[in-house]
């Protein structure tokens, strides 16, 4: 077959060719979802920053010890689970099914550990009088903003854990292929990425403005 000029045109990335981004549709769908989720979290974090500037008496309950140390451990755990996810995707592409499933379950384990530490921190704050729309030194907005953002992130982690278990079960039984593992990896890394902004903006910036 000769390649005519027209064929060349539609095979270029912007020519509306058969697969302009050279990825499958599931992966493309996940990327589009992640872009919209980025904006959700950006809006939440900027709302937090705005409320914080608007209230000079914004509560700062995160002392270096234990608040920031705890959040640092959570950050490292989440980063570690991202690394095991990368290993899982690499193993899946190398067709090492059992190894990939082990790494996916390890990733889910990191997520569960993160959730446990986070919920423990929440209950600690509840015992100090913080709550949804409640704060001991006034400014109840702090409670709404803090638990709103971290709750939204925790919901993402929890959905991610369930997603990992489904992928591990389906991939282990041969129902899903390596591309499905890669798509779930995209989601997991994104949850990690969001925390990389929540951690400095809420915990580390817990200083006098």
């Amino acid at each position: 077959m000769h390649e005519t000029k027209d064929d060349a045109a539609i095979s270029t990335p912007w020519g509306g060719g058969h697969s302009p981004f050279a990825i499958n549709s599931k992966k493309f769908g996940m990327w589009l979802f992640l872009v919209s989720d980025t904006l959700t979290f950006a809006a939440l974090l900027l709302a937090y920053s705005y409320l914080r500037l608007a209230n000079p008496d914004w509560p700062r309950p995160f002392e270096f010890n234990p608040g920031i140390i705890n959040a640092t451990i959570m950050t490292v755990i989440l980063l570690g689970s991202s690394l095991t996810m990368v290993m899982a995707v690499a193993a899946a592409h190398a067709n090492e099914r059992a190894k990939a499933v082990r790494y996916i379950l390890l990733t889910a384990g990191g997520g569960i550990l993160f959730d446990i530490l986070h919920i423990r921190e929440w209950f600690h704050l509840f015992s100090e009088g913080y709550g949804f729309g409640a704060s001991p030194q006034g400014v109840p907005l702090f409670g709404s903003a803090f638990f709103g953002i971290t709750g939204m992130h925790m919901a993402h982690v929890t959905i991610g854990i369930i997603y990992m278990f489904i992928i591990a079960a389906g991939y282990g039984r041969g129902k899903f292929d390596a591309d499905d593992v890669e798509v779930s990896g995209l989601y997991w890394h994104f949850v990690d990425l969001v925390w990389m902004f929540v951690f400095p903006m809420i915990y580390l910036m817990s200083i006098k403005l």
């Binding site: 904006l39 000079p56 991202s82 990690d192 915990y203 580390l204 817990s206």
Partner: protein, 109 residues
């Protein structure tokens, strides 16, 4: 691997060793950030916030390009995803900065 036929395509790039190096960098940047959070009294809040945001953006770029593999995808995907996201974020910031800087001037203490 089913969707990609050609050998030596994107997935061949990026070894476990490279990903581990990227991970070590991510942890190191986190350590710098925590150190900044510990040494708060030496920096002004504005300087510290700017520094933290820049470091976080560096981490985000590392995660997106290596862990999320965007560096090894076709350029067309990056050009579709990144500029549109940055544009939308700028549209939020256009309203955020004037309003929040005005708030600072209303402060009594």
């Amino acid at each position: 691997m089913s969707a990609h036929g050609d050998p030596g395509e994107p997935h061949a790039a990026g070894s476990i060793r490279l990903f581990t190096i990227v991970w070590v960098w991510l942890v190191a940047i986190t350590a710098i950030e925590v150190f900044l959070g510990y040494e708060t009294q030496h920096f002004s809040p504005t300087f510290m916030l700017s520094l933290l945001i820049v470091l976080s953006i560096v981490k985000a770029i590392l995660i997106v390009s290596y862990f999320m593999h965007l560096k090894y995808e076709k350029l067309s995907l990056t050009l579709l995803l990144i500029p549109s996201t940055v544009f939308c974020l700028c549209m939020i910031l256009i309203f955020f900065f004037p309003d929040s800087l005005r708030l600072l001037q209303f402060r009594t203490h």
